[in-house]
């Protein structure tokens, strides 16, 4: 899976409250509407300007806070192809993979806002075309790659009928 797009750069500790604000709690059963507010409290312009294929690039502990799966769901709905961060909060990471949104742990210091990025998910390779550099990411556990390849956990269970490792 090769993904291409521009980088949207964020800092450390981007919480699920910044990604999917609680004041839009009533929109949780209407994900396309909720997606219009993706990351609104971190960058009010993001959801208006993000283009299909773009990447979210962040620092440490991306997605900390609540278990709301709506956070990765609306990131995916906004067209974002993957999230690259130095580290992820546990529940967010698992949720993202479950719904088929690739998440890669990598040193993101050498990626700036607007950089043109290419990502090879299987190889865990990030190419920053704007700076002509390659960044290696932590490989995803085998089971998680299998989930992503199958289009997420629901599709996986529909196919295999059971959960075995």
């Amino acid at each position: 899976m090769i993904l291409k797009g521009r980088a949207w750069k964020f800092g450390d500790n981007i919480s699920t409250d910044l990604i999917a604000p609680g004041r839009y709690f009533h929109l949780r059963t209407n994900l396309p509407e909720l997606a219009k507010h993706t990351l609104e409290d971190a960058d009010p312009e993001f959801s208006k300007k993000v283009r299909k294929g773009d990447f979210i690039v962040a620092g440490e502990n991306f997605g900390l806070g609540s278990s709301r799966e709506h956070a990765p769901q609306i990131i995916k709905l906004s067209g974002v192809s993957a999230v690259l961060a130095k580290s992820f909060a546990r529940i967010f990471y698992r949720n993202a993979v479950n719904i088929g949104l690739p998440v890669l742990e990598a040193d993101t210091d050498k990626i700036d806002n607007g950089d043109k990025i290419e990502v090879d998910i299987e190889k865990g390779l990030i190419i920053n075309n704007s700076k002509d550099i390659k960044i290696r990411s932590q490989p995803l556990p085998e089971f998680m790659i299998k989930l992503l390849e199958n289009g997420g956990l629901i599709a996986y269970i529909q196919k295999y009928k059971d959960l075995e490792i």
Binding site: R28, S67, E69, S87, A89, L163
Partner: protein, 417 residues
């Protein structure tokens, strides 16, 4: 090789000897979701087009927006009501209280595995259960299959000795621990709280500690079972469910952290990070528009008794609104019987129905632009209480109650002497 509490419980539920780092499939005993995450869980169950494995141990709670403040949420509640009727799963509707408090009161037993579509599901670890939060898809699959996959976490042992000084409480202890570990200091880890301070602590305080394990990024917080666990279960009418759950003496810990509780002072988390912890005494210039006492962290009867002791016969500062919400109907009833609600009303408090109240910014006390709130909840992220232009400080019920009287953040130790 010896096992931690997590390794023991995950081994017994996967019928294998498992250790930190293993990726395993384990059977679950209880699965829960709430009104924020439940509708998506139901949608995923419908996509799977399969029946729920164990409906009597599959519970939905309407606690976040309870009662509903707007039509979209009323419709979301309808989804849960209809699904629980057709599937035979349980529903705790408006007026019952917060999921984490209710499952501690009525369901969770030592040695069990609990999964919940709410990050504070880790609260149940105080009863010696392995309990962790997940998203709606994971919970839907867990509800249907009766099992889920886990990566067995490494464990940090938090060993606490010494007596908590007057005016400090388990909330101050957990704020101190999170300040020390940092908001991602324990990502993917389990925290095992132990030591004489924990052994002396009643169940309410233990629930406050495990509730906030996730604020250090942890997968769960756990406490070995003992006399206190057994007495709690007996009081809740299920004493026969007591089993001893303890780590092995030679268990392998990733890190051991020693804390002398007698050094603690009342602490406050300063916006917008839970790990940004300062002594309450250094924050006396912070003027408060609102004080909130409640939530799954500190909305128990023990918390209300402390607050009532400080508020009895006094009035809140006229410029500081005081909102109080019991964590469950049971807490509410006890607070009524003990006359605590009367004390709160006389102090100028507004009492909300059992539930999450304004904690997550849906209703019941949303902050205005530029306003400042001191809350007993577990999170102070920007926007958490419904307004990104407001600020949230976190503290114990004692600090919250005492600060409601003065109108500024105040160290409650002086009130307790």
């Amino acid at each position: 090789m010896g096992k931690t509490i997590s390794e023991k419980i995950l081994s017994s539920h996967s019928k294998k000897d498992v250790y930190a780092g293993d990726i395993i499939v384990a059977n679950i005993d209880l699965a829960i979701a709430q009104d924020g995450t439940g509708p998506l869980t139901v949608q995923k169950i419908r996509e799977l087009n399969r029946a729920v494995k164990n409906p009597s141990k599959t519970i939905f709670f309407i606690d976040h927006a309870s009662p509903s403040p707007r039509k979209e949420l009323s419709d979301a509640h309808t989804i849960l009501r209809e699904f629980t009727i057709e599937s035979g799963c349980k529903l705790y509707d408006i007026g019952c209280g917060i999921s984490h408090q209710i499952i501690a009161e009525e369901y969770v037993n030592p040695g069990e595995i609990v999964i919940g579509a709410d990050s504070h599901t880790c609260t149940a670890g105080a009863l010696g259960a392995f309990a962790t939060g997940m998203g709606s898809t994971d919970i839907a699959v867990g509800m249907v299959l009766g099992k889920t996959w886990f990566r067995v976490p490494e464990t940090y042992k938090i060993l606490v000795t010494g007596k908590l000084p007057v005016g400090t409480y388990p909330k101050d202890l957990i704020l101190y621990i999170i300040g020390k570990l940092g908001a991602n200091g324990a990502t993917y880890k389990a925290l095992e709280f132990s030591g004489e301070t924990i052994e002396r602590m009643e169940m309410a305080g233990r629930l406050t500690l495990t509730n906030m394990a996730v604020e250090a990024g942890a997968k769960t917080g756990l406490i070995a079972t003992d006399k206190t666990t057994e007495e709690y279960l007996i009081r809740q009418g299920r004493g026969e469910k007591y089993v001893e759950i303890k780590p092995d003496k030679d268990a392998n810990y990733k890190r051991e952290i020693y804390i002398d509780a007698s050094d603690l002072v009342p602490l406050v988390s300063v916006p917008h990070r839970v790990d940004n912890v300062k002594p309450a005494s250094e924050l006396s210039d912070i003027k408060l528009d609102q004080v909130y006492i409640g939530t799954c962290t500190n909305g128990r009867i023990e918390d209300f008794r402390i607050a009532a002791k400080i508020l009895r016969g006094k009035k809140r500062n006229p410029e500081t609104r005081l909102i109080i919400a019991p964590a469950s109907k049971d807490v509410y009833e006890k607070a009524l019987e003990e006359g605590l609600i009367k004390i709160f009303l006389n102090a100028g408090a507004t009492i909300l129905p059992p539930g999450c109240g304004p904690c997550v910014g849906v209703h019941g006390g949303i902050l205005g632009n530029g306003e400042i709130c001191l809350s007993t909840q577990n999170r102070n992220f920007k926007g958490r209480m419904g307004n990104p232009d407001a600020e949230i400080y976190l503290a114990s019920p004692a600090t919250a109650a005492y600060s409601a009287l003065s109108g500024v953040i105040s160290d409650p130790q002086e009130a307790m002497l």
